[in-house]
């Protein structure tokens, strides 16, 4: 569904991604983990058309993503939930969701009911300003807004960042449910344990390179991964 090969990205003279390749299959959850500054967000923003790539290929359902303007990529169905939610604070919850519909370019139908069913709190607070929501509710709104665009693949940048564990669980349960309903998901997470539990396949990015990839469950038992990413007892979830 999404194929990335040999991707090179640098900006301000710093090489952010080097020869990155990965494949996300239809209907799966793919997790990309790695430390801060490894280039995870750069990869997502390259796929979304916000950051230009210098070399390599990225195709999504047969369309070449590189060089395509960002709004066309979103309308083609690759929709990103950006890091830090980025809800439009001065608009209401309902208006934020309506904005999300722009990306659907006619694909959509009853997304609003679906979003309200998934996150009932968004229906309760539909007339409230998005800026007045709690962090967890804003994350739900950001995901709901992306779903309004009837995504073919949902791309999430650190959805657990800054959220209480119980809210993280709620958000990830929603992602699992969406995936069971057939949605393909590409997920970036610093919380490696959570990501590997949720995903079918995963890759580990370090200093702009993919250093490991494979079935998420296998990676979760790999001694190197356990050592570097899962060994800490203070993991929140």
């Amino acid at each position: 569904m999404l194929d990335v090969s040999g991707l090179n990205v640098s900006y301000s003279g710093i090489r952010a991604l080097q020869d990155v390749s990965l494949t996300v299959g239809q209907g799966e959850i793919f997790a990309l983990i790695g430390p801060n500054g490894a280039g995870k967000s750069t990869l997502l923003n390259t796929l979304s058309g916000i950051v230009p790539a210098q070399a390599g290929q990225a195709t999504f359902e047969g369309q070449n993503l590189l060089g395509m303007p960002a709004h066309r990529i979103a309308r083609a169905g690759l929709i990103q939930v950006p890091e830090g939610r980025q809800v439009i604070a001065p608009l209401t919850v309902r208006e934020n969701l309506e904005l999300g519909r722009i990306a659907s370019s006619g694909r959509g139908g009853s997304e609003l009911d679906h979003v309200h069913d998934l996150f009932p709190v968004l229906a309760e607070r539909r007339n409230q300003l998005a800026g007045s929501l709690s962090g967890g509710q804003q994350q739900m709104l950001a995901i709901g807004r992306a779903l309004m665009g009837a995504p073919r693949i949902l791309v999430l940048d650190e959805p657990s960042l800054g959220l209480a564990p119980v809210i993280v669980r709620e958000v990830f349960d929603a992602l699992l449910r969406l995936n069971r309903e057939g949605l393909t998901i590409l997920l970036i997470e610093q919380n490696a344990k959570l990501a590997l539990e949720t995903a079918r396949h995963a890759a580990i990015l370090e200093q702009g390179r993919v250093v490991m990839r494979g079935v998420a469950a296998d990676l979760a038992h790999d001694p190197l991964v356990v050592d570097h990413y899962l060994g800490r007892a203070e993991d929140p979830v």
């Binding site: 979304s48 058309g49 916000i50 303007p69 960002a70 709004h71 979103a74 309308r75 929709i79 990103q80 950006p82 980025q86 439009i88 604070a89 001065p90 608009l91 208006e95 309506e98 904005l99 999300g100 722009i102 990306a103 370019s105 807004r145 665009g149």
Partner: protein, 298 residues
């Protein structure tokens, strides 16, 4: 006498507000200080004038043509002077320099075309009708101008607040990168913002041309300077701020001219600006968040 001057001040001030509104809209959404906004205003006035003189069109059609000309010129300005800079991610200052250049070109063109003459609307463009209200002499034109300004402001606020296109503009003002991730077409939003900004200037141009019955190539320059005062006084990017400050500047200017001296108008206007900034550094309606968030919020 005072009431009469206040009325004149409100009429002129509301047109200043209209002019400043287009300027502040562009700043709030695109972070552009369009130094050619005065030239757009002037060309809008000329377009309205030609519609009235050469095509012999009625007032309302001349006004519409002034709006259309201002809007299209402003869009053209975006394509020629701003978009190439945006593509190269040039710093905001380059847009100021580029629009100063565009302003000079537009001024020279108008100067050549009119041979530096001051031109006037034909006498029958707008019927001269004067009403006596509580001892005030109120011209029909003054009432119509206040009505048009109210209509345009209400229309603009409705467009920004209540339509899907307006919400997209406010989203771009709030966060340009997020708007693209949502599938919002930046070209379409830019087109609308530049067109609206220029159309407001064009209407202001025709109205000011009628009020003072004079249209000339330099008419936009003092207004641009005053628009700076208006938007700084009102708070960058603030729509109510632009209106209130526009009215205030118009009234202060008219009162200074009639009670002190015409030469002191700018002195008083700028002193007022400094006084307000001493008390409120972000302007009357300003906030520390600056212009972008303001347009999004209203």
């Amino acid at each position: 006498m005072l009431a009469q001057q206040l009325l004149n001040g409100v009429v002129v001030g509301s047109v200043y507000g209209l002019f400043a509104l287009g300027f502040t809209l562009l700043f709030g959404v695109n972070h552009i200080m369009n130094m050619a906004h005065g030239a757009v205003f002037m060309w809008g006035a000329f377009a309205g004038l030609f519609a009235a003189t050469m095509l012999d069109l009625p007032f309302i059609a001349a006004l519409a043509i002034g709006a259309l000309a201002g809007g299209l010129l402003s869009v053209l300005l975006d394509w020629v002077a701003f978009r190439p800079l945006r593509k190269r991610k040039a710093p905001e200052f380059s847009a100021i320099v580029s629009s100063i250049g565009a302003n000079l070109i537009l001024l020279s063109l108008a100067q050549q075309m009119t041979a530096t003459r001051v031109m006037r609307f034909p006498f029958d463009t707008f019927p001269i009708r004067i009403y006596e209200v509580f001892g005030l002499r109120v011209q029909l034109l003054q009432l119509v101008i206040i009505g048009i300004v109210i209509l345009m402001v209400v229309g603009l606020v409705w467009y920004l607040q209540r339509t899907s296109a307006g919400r997209q503009i406010r989203t771009v003002a709030y966060s340009e990168s997020t708007s693209r991730l949502l599938g919002i077409n930046p070209f379409s939003v830019n087109f609308q913002v530049f067109f609206l900004s220029g159309a407001l200037a064009g209407v202001a141009g025709v109205l000011i041309g009628l009020v003072f019955n004079s249209v000339h190539f330099m008419m936009g320059e003092p207004l641009l300077l005053r628009a700076f005062v208006v938007i700084i006084l009102g708070g960058l990017g603030s729509i109510p701020g632009a209106l209130v400050a526009g009215l205030l500047i118009g009234i202060v200017q008219v009162l200074t001219v009639s009670y002190l001296s015409a030469g002191l108008a700018d002195v008083v206007v700028f002193s007022l600006l400094f006084l307000v900034l001493l008390a409120r550094p972000t302007g009357l309606f300003g906030s520390v968040h600056g212009g972008a968030a303001r347009v999004a919020r209203q």
